[in-house]
Symmetry: C2
Subunit: 326 residues, 2 copies
């Protein structure tokens, strides 16, 4: 008599996925469901009670894998995602993965074992091969094949920053970003498009080459000393676009420490929204992402999985927030 293992093997999926289909519980992608149902008919499999007992009900828990929730923008996003999911009856589990891919994999296992209903992925790690794409995954700011994603309009953000600096009369532009958005790294995220948009606009509207600094990502919070040295080695630079407000802030403080005035000598634009906590100085000029809108889109996508609606990719608009640094 054929077993659940035979079905799984023949359909090229895991046993848990077959179990979800026969118990009609948990999310399985429509095409996978059809394939499994076809195999079940073909080989004449009859699910037994033990298979049924593998069933675990939907538990309304969603896990959010996030590099570091103390990062101001990630923290805001976490807050709004929790609020938005709660409206749909979901509780949020948080996983600060920072540089630990092992921790991410542990949460992905929880999804496979039905211990969480969905996972929100915010990661730069090289985890594509570990994703079971039959299960409910939503990615933020990164494209994985066959995984729905939500992203800010990073490309437009780059354009807005370049336009602003060029309109202000900057003659020598610089872009500062980490290597997770680099030209030569295995993983490229949607965040790469901040640089691409910036470069593209500058190429069309600007006479000189843009200097591109790429540093090792590390913990997302601090940038290496080397970046500051490189900035100071280019005294001609009068317009800087940084990959995040956190980076822009460090760059500004270091420029000022070395006698440069911001924005008089160098104009600096960050990315995230210029929102701050305990800022006793000038307000940052920044490209604003909307954590509220992103959170709403993510929660809606997770709801769609279980409402058997098509889960669409969503691009969230960004805007320029004027401050006092550019």
């Amino acid at each position: 008599m054929p077993s659940i293992k035979d079905v799984a093997r023949k359909a090229g999926v895991g046993i848990a996925t077959v179990s979800r289909v026969i118990n009609n519980s948990g999310y399985v992608k429509q095409s996978t469901r059809e394939k499994i149902e076809k195999v079940i008919q073909e080989i004449g499999y009859v699910p037994n009670e033990i298979a049924r007992s593998m069933l675990k009900q939907k538990n309304n828990i969603v896990a959010f894998i996030i590099p570091n929730s103390t990062h101001l923008f990630f923290g805001e996003l976490l807050y709004h995602v929790e609020l938005e999911l709660f409206k749909y009856g979901y509780k949020l589990m948080v996983c600060n993965s920072s540089e630990s891919m092992e921790k991410e994999l542990e949460y992905l296992d929880m999804l496979k074992n039905n211990r969480v209903d969905a996972i929100i992925l915010l990661t730069n790690n090289d985890i594509e091969q570990y994703l079971n794409k039959d299960l409910p995954l939503i990615s933020f700011d990164r494209k994985f094949k066959d995984v729905p994603f939500v992203a800010s309009d990073n490309y437009q953000g780059g354009i807005l920053a370049a336009k602003k600096l060029i309109d202000l009369g900057c003659d020598h532009l610089m872009f500062i970003g980490d290597d997770a958005q680099g030209d030569s790294t295995p993983v490229q995220t949607e965040v790469t498009k901040r640089r691409l948009g910036f470069m593209s606009y500058a190429k069309e509207h600007h006479h000189s080459e843009v200097i591109n600094i790429e540093y090792p990502l590390g913990n997302y919070i601090n940038i290496p000393e080397q970046v500051h040295k490189t900035v100071l080695e280019h005294p001609e630079v009068d317009g800087i676009f940084a990959i995040s407000d956190a980076v822009a802030c460090e760059v500004i403080l270091n420029l000022e420490k070395h006698g440069k005035r911001v924005p008089e000598d160098v104009k600096v634009i960050g990315f995230d929204g210029g929102r701050s906590f305990l800022n006793l100085g000038k307000k940052m000029t920044s490209i604003s992402q909307s954590p509220e809108q992103i959170a709403h889109a993510i929660a809606e996508s997770i709801h769609s999985f279980y409402a058997n609606e098509k889960v669409e990719n969503k691009i969230i608009p960004v805007t320029l927030t004027n401050g006092e640094t550019a």
Copy 2:
């Protein structure tokens, strides 16, 4: 034949608690366990399979009820609590309760229903009556009867702030705090002791009365305009201790907007540690709490529940962090 209901009724506890005892699963306070075992013997109750099937295994999920994770200190605490709990094999669920007591109650129900193993309470709400104290609860910065707690040494923090301002020669002191720490509110938290320590030291070492401002707590992030007005109505004040860095920051910006110099005219000390995000101005002088040590103590306490060790209250030391505002 006596049922599980009879045991519960006679022992004055819920059925779930009896179920935990007969299945030896989940945490029940030792004294409650003994009471239930005594009742079981007295009335000759024999647990049946249905009762056993009520058993749900420990699921290694802890919920953290927190007012607002975007508050810088709460956000840091959340981050470290997640890391520390993960070392013990726990996953963290986050509940931003802000002013919603209903949301807190929903999480307390999850604990009662064995859907989470423990709850960390960081709340100013009047929820004492809803707490099932037989279950694993840890409170931060607040005392509930029979609930173990972790708190910073808030009283010592108040003393350090008063001493610093008085040593710097301040003649007219002011304390600014929210009404959750007030003299006249139903709920008083451990945070109240920031004021009490400050007042006590000032009374002994200072010649004039300390002005005490108490404002409605709201969302923890912003303070009402009225506070700023009151501050400006006291131009003689030259030393301010604020209940948090967030409050201190707003007060400093408003003083500067009205032509006062900080620290030359008015010295301001905050509470939390003066850590900031995107601060392009001067560094805050502050009483530092240690989110790492607090998180460690909380995780240890939760571990103790399930290791059947006594869960001790823990007071975490604070220190003065010198900055540029006092």
